[in-house]
């Protein structure tokens, strides 16, 4: 849509004015502007598929959790085996139907006037039946809780208000081929270690969102402690160089999804002493199985994934990346002091809480049949590196707020975020996977595609 028919912001500019498509620059103002935030609530969070949790959080009928879709609270509940997502707003006078984070009940009763609803949102009735306090203007079928459209993928619960919009499959597009390697590889599937960590960061959700689109570059500086005193410190105690870790292949998506696939060979060499070139796909995946899986799980991989996917997994498996608009995943191998490797599986959602606040939600996963000792190791390791107290992500949550502050300055708001490090490589030779793929050291393309999709949605009718 052309900028001149676009909705004008208070100062007369349009969303398109804030993005320079030629030079791949975005004005900082996007990270602090309240008007833009309000538009996003409709055009981004009202239109795309949003991650709300995992079905292992609500295993039984009646189980429910309270989550957020943009600024709307929703009830995620299991009813007759199925998962339903209902707007947590009473159709009578707007009271919250539940004020609990989680629970189990067959009937949700609003505490204000007592209207009752099933776990699937159906209106059951109001007290003092003979007085028909819900009136006669609307039928009972019109008085249920507003329902979102729901999809389960690898047990993950996604929902959208865009009832007639694209399917979740279409939304993922080519990226699905890669996500399958993470979420759909095992027979038992992933399960959450527990409810997610939740904390508030005084930053615009996009400061975290644009980074989640595979910003590998920042690791070298912001997380350099990993090499200095952390898991990538050299055995001789010398500082380790993180640069090699940033080589691999990056998958971009026209829908803003992103994955960084990192070469396993170094790790395999270190673990086996053998030359990875001489190992078969199966051998590699038995030596270094995916996070949370054991050697003998290879049969599962073989069953659930295509040979091409297996090949990619043994070569450069996706390890970090994001899902538009506000999801980050990290499925990584963490080197241990004893030379071994412990896997870590985590998903984050960055829920907007106003132009300068976000809620950081961190789920930690294990495979359903990960052995107890390994599972404990994985969870501890993950808690120690990511999320609330994570030594890696502490630095991120302390950085985003500064970007949100600078975005408020009358000069700063016109300063731009730049995405000008551009791949010139293309797919690795013989790469089996689909999509926009580039080889080599991390670049800005994935993040730029993230902004392009943001712009497309924000300027769509």
């Amino acid at each position: 849509m052309s900028a001149n028919t676009e909705r004008k912001l208070a100062d007369g500019s349009t969303i398109s004015d804030l993005i320079d498509l030629e030079r791949r620059e975005v004005q900082l103002r996007t990270l602090a502007d309240r008007e833009i935030y309000e538009i996003e609530q409709d055009k981004i969070f009202g239109k795309t598929w949003l991650l709300l949790g995992h079905e292992s959080e609500i295993p039984d009928d009646g189980n429910f959790i309270q989550r957020f879709m943009g600024d709307d609270s929703v009830i995620v509940a299991r009813h007759k085996g199925e998962v339903f997502v209902s707007l947590n707003v009473c159709p009578h006078r707007g009271m919250k139907i539940t004020t609990q984070d989680a629970g189990s009940t067959s009937i949700h009763k609003c505490i204000y006037h007592g209207w009752a609803f099933r776990s699937n949102g159906e209106f059951l009735g109001s007290p003092v039946a003979d007085q028909c306090m819900h009136g006669k203007i609307r039928g009972k079928d019109e008085l249920g809780l507003q329902q979102a459209r729901v999809t389960l993928y690898g047990g993950l619960i996604f929902a959208t208000w865009n009832i007639d919009g694209p399917s979740f499959e279409d939304f993922l597009g080519d990226a699905k081929w890669y996500y399958d390697m993470l979420f759909c590889r095992s027979d038992g599937g992933m399960v959450v270690a527990g409810p997610p960590q939740r904390f508030v960061v005084r930053a615009n959700w996009k400061a975290a969102g644009e980074q989640s689109a595979a910003d590998g570059f920042h690791t070298l500086m912001l997380h350099r402690w990993l090499g200095e005193v952390g898991n990538y410190k050299k055995d001789d105690g010398e500082s380790g160089d993180l640069t090699p870790e940033m080589f691999g292949a990056e998958v971009s998506s026209p829908h803003g999804h992103a994955l960084r696939c990192i070469d396993l060979n170094r790790k395999i060499r270190r673990l086996t002493g053998k030359d990875p070139e001489e190992l078969s796909v199966e051998e590699k995946l038995r030596v270094l199985p995916p996070p949370g899986m054991t050697a003998d799980a290879f049969t599962q991989l073989k069953k659930n994934l295509s040979p091409e996917q297996l090949e990619a997994m043994a070569w450069m498996p996706p390890q970090v990346g994001g899902m538009f608009p506000n999801v980050l995943f990290g499925f990584v191998y963490i080197p241990q002091a004893d030379g071994s490797v412990v896997g870590s599986m985590t998903l984050h959602a960055y829920v907007p809480k106003g132009p300068d606040k976000l809620e950081f939600i961190n789920w930690i996963f294990v495979e359903k049949d990960t052995p107890p000792e390994l599972r404990e190791k994985m969870v501890m390791q993950t808690i120690q590196l990511f999320g609330t107290s994570g030594m890696v992500e502490q630095d991120d949550s302390d950085t985003w707020p500064h970007m949100t502050l600078t975005a408020k300055g009358p000069q700063g708001r016109h300063s731009t975020m730049k995405y000008q490090a551009i791949y010139e490589t293309g797919k690795p030779e013989g790469w089996p996977g689909p999509g926009i793929v580039n080889e080599g050291f991390t670049k800005d393309d994935t993040q730029w595609h993230w902004w392009k999709y943001w712009h497309a949605l924000m300027t769509a009718e």
Partner: protein, 186 residues
């Protein structure tokens, strides 16, 4: 959920309460005041000295639940921190390095200790201590303070006449933590 919600065995460990004003009680107070100053003054490696090698250190999650499900409001299956001696040492090392940006520049904090109660345990020389802690945290030029009120459920162990921290569970009061990270020790 797949992990059973680990039982809080702390209160089972509390035997007779030790009199306020008794030597052990005052020693415990001394331990907490000294600890607060170490942490508020960024003396992380000194703090690690006050831990036992087998320390268990946990910050469980909280959830908003009905009063009838109150015990379910403390979550151990997932935690904000889940630490042992190695990991605490690792955190202290990171903070003592040159690139722990989350705390460099450091937060300006005060750890207000109060409501201390000490109990005998089945193990001689080991004491169970309950205390309240209010942390005020300020960063950069914020004109507000992040507040972290919490209850600490500790096991203190006498080693060569000195009290050391052998176990700590920190019970927070928020389900949605209001401070942007736990880069500091509680």
């Amino acid at each position: 959920m797949t992990t059973a919600n680990e039982p809080v065995n702390f209160f089972e460990q509390c035997a007779d309460e030790i009199a306020i004003g008794s030597d052990v009680y005052n020693q415990a107070l001394g331990f907490y005041y000294a600890e607060a100053r170490m942490l508020d003054n960024l003396r992380y490696m000194d703090w690690v000295e006050t831990l036992t090698q087998d320390i268990k250190y946990n910050v469980p999650l909280r959830q908003t639940r009905l009063v009838k499900d109150n015990e379910a409001s403390i979550i151990y299956s997932m935690r904000h921190m889940h630490e042992d001696y190695r990991s605490l040492m690792g955190r202290a090392l990171r903070l003592s390095g040159n690139s722990a940006w989350a705390e460099d520049p450091a937060s300006r904090t005060k750890r207000f200790v109060s409501n201390v109660q000490v109990f005998e345990t089945a193990t001689p020389g080991e004491y169970a201590a309950l205390s309240y802690l209010l942390i005020t945290r300020n960063r950069f030029d914020d004109d507000h303070f992040d507040l972290i009120p919490c209850e600490r459920r500790d096991i203190l162990r006498l080693q060569d006449g000195v009290l050391k921290l052998a176990q700590r569970d920190i019970i927070l009061d928020q389900v949605l933590l209001g401070t942007p990270n736990l880069a500091i020790f509680l």
